[in-house]
């Protein structure tokens, strides 16, 4: 048996809704570690490649467990992941008024690509993609309040 992206997303959601900070799961030699970061959203322990359907069946490794499949949020449709607002504040799509947006639909992103800014009392917090892939949808509106956990944009992870 193996874990699909949907499974991982479901497990992530369970962790997010729970009172626990960390979750470790070992299935048939596959090891998944999810950990809440300081700002409360769930990230993988390693924060490596994007969630993707894992090659199945996974041959039980001799010694080392596979590294975790990271993800930032529950999946939305097949293979598309939400990027949630890590905090409440005013969302900005561009570094300053008039400047081109950080990303548009179709933009390729790396894990550490900046996709927006959330301002809380003049303090600018950058929001990063958290995964490698392509932006498929932008939901956060420029200059408008976003709530904690509100979906800012969606990304189709690179396989």
């Amino acid at each position: 048996m193996s874990l699909t992206a949907k499974d991982v997303a479901e497990i992530t959601r369970l962790l997010e809704e729970s009172a626990f900070d960390e979750l470790s799961l070992e299935v048939d030699g596959l090891k998944l570690t999810l950990r809440r970061s300081a700002d409360g959203d769930v990230r993988s322990a390693e924060g490596a490649a994007a969630v993707a359907p894992l090659p199945a069946p996974v041959a039980p490794p001799a010694s080392v467990a596979r590294s975790a499949a990271p993800c930032t949020a529950p999946a939305r449709g097949a293979g598309v992941l939400d990027v949630p607002a890590p905090l409440l504040g005013t969302f900005y799509r561009a570094p300053k008024p008039g400047a081109p947006p950080f990303v548009e639909v179709g933009s390729p992103v790396e894990e550490d690509s900046i996709v927006g800014i959330i301002e809380v009392m003049k303090l600018m917090n950058t929001v990063r993609a958290g995964m490698r892939g392509t932006v498929t949808e932008i939901l956060g509106r420029d200059g408008v309040l976003v709530e904690y956990g509100e979906t800012l944009l969606r990304i189709a992870p690179a396989t």
Binding site: A19, D39, G40, L87, L88, G89, T90, E119, V120, M121, L123, V144, L145, E147, Y148, G149, E150
Partner: protein, 458 residues
């Protein structure tokens, strides 16, 4: 300035309570809720709910900047902080002042003045309000000298504490240096202020507080007093008004002292001055001032017919005090039980979980303030208050009988509650007589107080 939209920076029953008054006044209520409270009753009742952060209060309800940003973002011109959380943080009041948002409460300077318990003591002395013997301590040598003058038992209290938090009791003076060291380190961790002071520990006192409203320009009225002596480890469980067994003269002196204290500060909004009352010696002493709406405010509302939250909003809007002292009259007796999700069989440990079924009492003279309905979750992150059940009739005996029936008619399943404790307390002979001191709950739990009839515990 008319307030059209209020951001409520709180949760639970008080959020529900504030929404109710907003609705009556035609004001839009926006609730700032943590992730754990997104589906709560107040979140459903509010005109809009914004999620301010994760369940943990330090990441949501206690984030000053996030709350102000949320108010600006939703276009709310005022913030109601409720009680607890940020209600007595000068930082929130100050940030509101800076951003042109109305803080429904006192000024930041007033919060600072009463939040520093030593300063509040000095203000009380200056207003000719008696304080409990005690004072500031500079060193251990200093403390020992003061302690000898006061005499044991005494309390080491945190300057930044309050509400029973940050106190250590010392029965023998040789234990004082250790108690000071412990209290100072705990106070430093809990309140960010390691200063402590000494006060005489009054063994048999009653806790009586006076409800006030001030216009912020020096005019203050009182709305009578509440007796909150039924406490367990400084947590109030039953409150009533008027306080039983006080002479008219004593009651008047208590009210006047509270008004004098608040007038000196030109206090703005709703506040409460707490006193330790010694009826045997016919004396009272200032304890502290609470610069917020209090949990037990409904008993005052019941007897005066005044909506305290509406008055808070009116004062914050700049309407000033709409009531003169002669407009305020208490009628009858009101009593409140705080129903908590806690397990009396496990030393009153909080009992979070899912409320599977609930039935609250109703009828003439009964008021229930709650955020709990069937299917409500009691998250483990916050206080365990489920509901306040308030009874009001023309006299104390009838109120007590009505509240007994109301508690008996209340049913909560899924989480453990202290309803059994309330049934036992309300059936107790000493309580029925009235004017119990703060040692009552301990005596009741020890079985040293005789119940009038069998009352189920648990």
């Amino acid at each position: 300035m008319a307030i059209r939209r209020i951001l409520i920076a709180n949760r639970g029953e008080i959020a529900t309570r504030i929404i109710r008054t907003c609705r009556q006044l035609g004001i839009e209520a926006v609730l700032a809720a943590s992730e754990a409270d997104r589906d709560s009753l107040p979140a459903r009742l509010a005109d809009r709910t914004v999620c301010i952060g994760p369940a943990r209060a330090t990441d949501s309800y206690l984030k000053v900047e996030t709350i102000v940003q949320a108010a600006l973002g939703v276009g709310a011109c005022a913030i109601h902080p409720g009680y607890g959380f940020l209600s007595e943080r000068a930082a929130l009041a100050r940030l509101c002042e800076e951003h042109g948002i109305i803080f429904i409460g006192p000024t930041a300077a007033q919060i600072d003045a009463v939040g520093d318990k030593l300063r509040a003591r000095r203000e009380a002395e200056a207003a000719a309000v008696p304080v409990v013997p005690g004072g500031a301590i500079e060193s251990v040598v200093d403390a020992m000298a003061l302690a000898r003058r006061i005499g044991a038992p005494l309390l080491v209290k945190a300057v930044g504490g309050g509400g029973g938090r940050g106190m250590k009791r010392v029965d023998h003076l040789e234990d004082l240096p250790a108690a000071i060291a412990l209290a100072a380190s705990e106070a430093g961790a809990a309140f960010g202020d390691a200063r402590v002071y000494l006060e005489r520990f009054v063994t048999h006192g009653r806790h009586v507080e006076v409800q006030l409203l001030g216009d912020g320009a020096g005019r203050v009225v009182h709305l009578g007093e509440r007796d909150c002596s039924v406490q367990r480890r400084y947590q109030k469980l039953i409150e009533e008004t008027p306080a039983p067994g006080l002479t008219d003269g004593f009651r008047h002196r208590l009210h006047e002292a509270a008004v004098r204290f608040a007038e000196r500060l030109a206090y703005r909004g709703a506040g409460t001055v707490e006193f330790l009352v010694d009826t045997e010696r016919d004396s009272f002493h200032f304890l502290e001032m609470n610069a917020r709406i209090q949990v037990e405010h409904p008993v005052t509302e019941a007897v005066t017919g005044i909506d305290l939250v509406a008055e808070q909003i009116a004062i914050a809007s700049g309407d000033g005090l709409r009531l003169g002292q002669s407009d305020i009259r208490g009628r009858g007796c009101a009593m409140e039980c705080r129903v908590n999700a806690e397990d009396p069989h496990r030393d009153f440990q909080p009992s979070p979980g899912l409320v599977s079924a609930v039935s609250w009492p109703a009828g003439p003279g009964i008021r229930v303030d709650t955020h709990i309905a069937p299917g409500s979750r009691v998250p483990p992150f916050y206080d365990s208050l489920l509901a306040k059940i308030i009874a009001h009739t023309p006299d104390r005996a009838a109120t007590l009988a009505l509240l007994r029936r109301a508690i008996g008619a209340t049913c909560v399943t899924g989480v453990a509650t202290n309803l059994g404790f309330h049934a036992a307390a309300l059936a107790d002979r000493e309580f029925a007589t009235g004017a119990v001191d703060t040692g009552f709950v301990a005596r009741l739990l020890d079985g040293r107080s005789a119940p009038l009839q069998d009352a189920s515990r648990g």
